[in-house]
């Protein structure tokens, strides 16, 4: 028995067939995973970060496993916006899924250049990675200072033809303040969390595990932090929220929706199972069936306080 369950969600006027997306950086531009996942079954493919010119990224090792998670310091290696538009977008447009392009830069002008270049392209939304160091302001990430975040949001919005998602960094004292800064700058949505900055040391070699010394922590180890931040951010602003951080199953996705997310992104779990995204869509559907919930949107922000003594 399959009743008609609604899985569609809407963010900033863009309709998604279901709320499961890929997390930027873990899924390339979809081509590599196309052999493992029916991309038509996903709500959206969020691409790896695209810069104005090719970026070589960091030296290796770029990857280190940690308990329940991993550190990465890829350094946003990417071929730049021209190759991306000529090669990767036509690939993605073969599929019946939404395309969200993640944008990275070293200066405000970098971001604006990419956003402007994408304005005439078949892209549904833009996701701005503000965890990159701002080279003109001493290297502190755009997303770690509320004024810088508001300013870059406003700048990007001037050039953007598509709705803009600001992807927030969790490496801040008050995530609500950052969410409000993005909203003040005119963001159409926010996504979080990006990775938590971490470090691993190889005690046998007495060296850093990563050539970059620090890296971004992701995977199930960060999930409780991510759920808490999604909850706080979604209550701080009226913007739709895309939640991510350690999602491995349909029930993990439900947790983020209950915390206040309208959609979720799946990242590191792709490395544990290249087919995981479609399993999460199925798992989410199974959850709704199990509890007789007819519309996935009924879960958004629906978490209740623990009942006290009566």
């Amino acid at each position: 028995m399959t009743q008609k369950i609604r899985m569609d969600v809407k963010i900033a006027g863009v309709e998604f067939k279901n709320p499961v997306m890929t997390a930027s950086g873990t899924f390339g531009s979809g081509a590599e995973y196309g052999e493992y996942v029916d991309l038509d079954g996903l709500g959206a493919v969020v691409t790896k970060g695209v810069a104005s010119v090719p970026w070589a990224g960091n030296p290796t090792p770029r990857i280190a496993e940690t308990c329940g998670g991993m550190l990465n310091a890829i350094g946003l290696q990417n071929p730049g916006m021209e190759v991306f538009c000529e090669r990767n977008l036509p690939f993605l447009k073969q599929y019946d899924t939404r395309v969200i392009v993640n944008v990275c830069g070293r200066t405000q002008e970098d971001y604006c250049q990419v956003v402007e270049r994408l304005s005439g392209e078949p892209v549904d939304m833009l996701e701005i990675n503000v965890s990159c160091p701002n080279v003109k302001e001493g290297g502190i990430a755009f997303g770690q200072n509320a004024d810088a975040l508001e300013s870059i949001t406003r700048a990007v919005k001037r050039y953007a033809a598509q709705p803009v998602i600001m992807k927030l960094s969790p490496n801040v004292t008050d995530i609500g303040e950052m969410a409000r800064a993005a909203e003040a700058g005119g963001a159409d949505a926010i996504s979080l969390i990006n990775t938590l900055t971490g470090m691993k040391i190889d005690v046998h070699k007495r060296t850093f595990a990563l050539a970059n010394q620090t890296g971004g922590l992701s995977g199930p180890a960060v999930k409780p932090v991510a759920v808490r931040m999604v909850y706080e951010a979604s209550r701080a602003v009226s913007l739709p929220v895309i939640g991510m951080g350690g999602i491995q199953s349909g029930e993990d996705a439900v947790e983020f929706l209950l915390a206040g997310a309208t959609a979720v992104s799946v990242g590191t779990a792709n490395f544990h199972d290249p087919c995981v995204t479609q399993k999460i869509v199925a798992g989410l559907q199974a959850y709704l069936e199990k509890y007789g919930i007819e519309d996935v949107k009924d879960l958004i922000g629906a978490v209740q306080p623990v009942p006290g003594p009566s």
Partner: protein, 260 residues
Amino acid sequence: MKQKEICRVLRQERINTSEPSDVGIYSLWLETKDIARKAAPGQFVMVYGKDDSRLLPRPISICQTDGTALRLVYRVAGSGTREFSRLGPGQTLEVLGPLGNGFPLGEVQGEHVLLLGGGIGIPPMLGTAVKLGKNATAVLGYRHETFLREEFAEVCPVAFATEDGSSGVKGNVLDVIHEGGLRADVIFACGPAPMLRAVQAYAAEEGIRCWISMEERMACGIGACLGCVCDTTQEDPHSHVHRKRVCKDGPVFLSTEVRL
């Protein structure tokens, strides 16, 4: 759609019994549905553990195949490979593959190939030797205890070295080549970075076509995450930054193509 295969362990044994247990090298035979049939020498698989605290798969080179059976010979390097080493017959393991590009057997037909294997780079050379047969000479470099040597000897001539000089030539694979005056049209090599660097230089000096198999930490194994890149002499077609993906563009590269 491709997916991971659940493979049953046929048998597993430790093959370097005289060395300390923390440097155990294991030979694992798995029954596969498609992986062994599709595998080519020099390709690898991703092996997934069952412990949720370790979420990344381990890339392991394919040693050889026999029909639907797949043989992996690997070193216990940490908790993930230690988990694999405890598996016995009938237990299962999730495996993705075969992945990457193996040695270009089609490009060396009729030529004599030197197969250079150092340490845990030796296993992928066995399947390659089986395919090349008498067109190959295997040159193996060990630390102390030799392993798989008799199996190589069944299919091609073998020369070897040990670092401590306990058997064979004292030194490494290049010492064996120099001492034995070995010549070849082509070199296939797999081993630690210092060995590959020396082999790369030797091949350049001698003007021998040489392919080497690279190793790097991986996450996805399928070319998406860009965790396992190596530096290349030419601009790469994926990112246009002189960095290729070991998992997808390799792990076997022309020696003139990579910077070690």
